[in-house]
Amino acid sequence: MMMAPRTEILVEREAEVFRPEIVVLFCQHCVVPDADLTVAGMATSRFKAKLVMIPCTGKIETSQLLSILAEGVDGIQVVGCPRQQCHRLDGNLRAEKRVERVRQFLHEIRMGTERLDMERGLDFSGLQLMLLAERRANAVKPLGPNPMKGDSD
């Protein structure tokens, strides 16, 4: 008896693919004035991103970074001005220390330091912010989803 050829189609079910959720906290002075920030809404199968503009990275508190992660976000990318170019003198330097402190916490509690990092630069476009988000997502992927997913209050 001749058997009909079998074609197996592998369907990648979206629910089984880890799409890291990345929050980008960026200083308003790091982006070009007409940056298209709606790019975050563009669909991508690789990751999800939320772009959050803040007046200065110096406004970011350690507790805020930890709270965002405790809500289940997989990773945070902070984007601030270059070291000597903060509009508020040393806000970016304070942010750098706070980011490093939280990275140390993440290492101690075995959540993975790569869930948080800081990038410095100027004149980013919306697309470039998304590229930074993708880079963060790629760094987070080996760590797996945030253990807090589905457990936020």
Partner: protein, 223 residues
């Protein structure tokens, strides 16, 4: 000011593993000033502990409240509404506050969240240096405002040990100024070096750490 340092997070995880709900109680006084146990530190520790315990497989619900001072009964009372709802209180106050909470709420587990270390001055942002050891017999007027009890590595009372380094640093700790060198320099600057040669009665060490808890009683302030 009493200063304290945050306990390692893994030590807190070990203490709290297995509990269902914990109240983190902050103190708005000394530990807030030294960034160890105030409201900001409570709001930092709460999500951090939640994540740490989730990773360890012991999910924990955390309530938070910061009171003005945990060394006054009236403020400790503000925790009364929340304490019955939790399995334990993690107090970020100094040892005084932790004990006050434990005494007021004897039926709940109370854990310290910080290590109380010393009485210190904030020399500059982010740096606190011990300046007092509560010896109970203050002689700062005789040493030009510099305390050899707290600031001398050997707590010498009669002058330098003879091991002061050429740069004025202590022989025990090369990063520490020899306080007797500072005292002598200040005496010279004021033209009063000879006052250090006066014979003084022995220091009264009866307030020292051994011998049980100290008390101060003021009859004029009692009801």
């Amino acid at each position: 000011m009493i200063i304290a340092e945050a306990k390692p997070i893994l030590e807190l995880v070990q203490q709290l593993a297995g509990l269902r709900r914990v109240l983190i109680a902050g103190c708005g006084c000394c530990v807030a000033e030294c960034a160890a146990g105030g409201e900001r530190e409570v709001e930092t520790l709460a999500p951090l502990l939640r994540m740490a315990l989730q990773v360890e497989g012991h999910p924990l619900e955390i309530l938070t409240k910061t009171v003005e001072r945990q060394c006054e009964w009236e403020f400790v009372e503000e925790l009364a509404e929340l304490v019955p709802k939790v399995d334990a209180v993690l107090s970020l106050a100094c040892g005084i506050g932790v004990q006050a909470v434990a005494e007021r709420f004897p039926d709940v587990l109370v854990y310290p969240g910080v290590n109380t270390t010393s009485l210190a001055l904030r020399e500059e942002a982010g740096l606190w240096v011990a300046r007092c050891q509560a010896c109970g017999d203050c002689r700062l007027g005789e040493t030009f405002g510099l305390c050899p009890v707290a600031r001398c590595a050997k707590s010498l009372q009669n002058g330098p040990c003879g091991g002061t380094r050429k740069n004025g640093k202590c022989e025990v700790d090369e990063n520490l100024d020899c306080v007797w060198n500072l005292i002598v320099e200040r005496a010279i600057a004021r033209g009063q070096l000879e006052t250090l040669l006066r014979v003084r009665p022995p220091k009264d060490w009866s307030n020292s750490h051994h011998g049980g808890p100290k008390q101060m009683l003021r009859e004029d302030l009692r009801p």
